[in-house]
């Protein structure tokens, strides 16, 4: 939809529409399109994440990140979340195998220690602090 999304009636291409999940409220479905859609496109379509692979997710408690953690787990992968410590239990509840604190100077070393082969895929969500991105890269293995 190029514009006019606030209108009562709007014209949209049929290949951009799908029925709402039966289990989601309108508010949940509204949040799902951007957060879940972006995470699914990145992990499944672009990243071609495979069962058993490990994926490091920055800003993991945010709108895209919280969907990315759950989608990675649903795909059979092993999501590692990067977030503030207050969100670590929350991330484990979403399915994260482990959580890391980007405030810690050595969080990259902690990731490497937890995953000997390092992660095979890294997802940087938009909410991450810019300084986190190069660090996330250095925690990522080739491939």
């Amino acid at each position: 939809m190029a514009g006019g999304g606030f209108a009562e009636l709007a014209l949209a291409s049929a290949d951009r529409l799908a029925p709402m999940p039966g289990r989601a409220s309108f508010a949940e479905a509204a949040g799902l399109v951007i957060g879940g859609g972006t995470a699914y496109q990145g992990l499944a379509d672009r990243g071609r994440l495979q069962p058993g692979e490990t994926v490091l997710i920055t800003a993991a408690a945010g709108g895209v990140g919280s969907a990315a953690v759950q989608i990675a787990a649903a795909l059979g992968a092993r999501p590692l979340g990067v977030a503030s410590p207050g969100n670590h239990d929350y991330l484990r509840g979403l399915g994260a195998s482990a959580a890391f604190d980007y405030h810690a100077a050595d969080w990259v070393r902690q990731v490497r220690a937890a995953v000997p082969a390092a992660s095979t895929c890294c997802w940087t969500a938009p909410g991450a602090r810019p300084a986190t991105r190069p660090s996330a890269l250095s925690a990522t293995a080739a491939g």
Binding site: A14, D15, R16, L17, A18, P19, M20, P21, G22, R23, A24, A27, E28, A30, G31, L32, V33, I34, G35, G36, G37, Y40, Q41, G42, L43, A44, D45, R46, A59, A61, G62, G63, S66, A67, Q70, I71, A73, A74, S84, G86, N87, Y90, L94, C121, C122, W123, T124, A125, P126, G127, R129, P130, R133, P134, L137, S138, T140, A141, A142, G143
Partner: protein
């Protein structure tokens, strides 16, 4: 490395790491995949708050603080 951040990806990725940055694009197949995950109970949409549109400024301030869990949804009308 997969990212939707078009700017700020390191110009040169190291150690043979491949990188891709993309713009999110809604497609029916993807929306249907999400619907299946939600209806199966494996994906629970995370909404921290639902605010009326006239509190959009407050919503943006919360998001800018980088401590929002999931999305803040703005409601238009009732």
């Amino acid at each position: 490395m997969i990212s939707i951040i078009l700017h700020g990806l390191p110009a040169q990725l190291e150690r043979g790491i491949t990188g891709e940055s993309f713009a999110a694009h809604g497609r029916r197949e993807r929306l249907e995949a999400l619907r299946r995950l939600v209806d199966a109970g494996t994906l629970r949409p995370q909404v921290e708050a639902v605010l009326p549109l006239d509190q959009a400024g407050e919503a943006l301030t919360q998001v800018a603080g980088r401590h929002t869990r999931g999305k803040i949804v703005l409601q238009i009308g009732q």
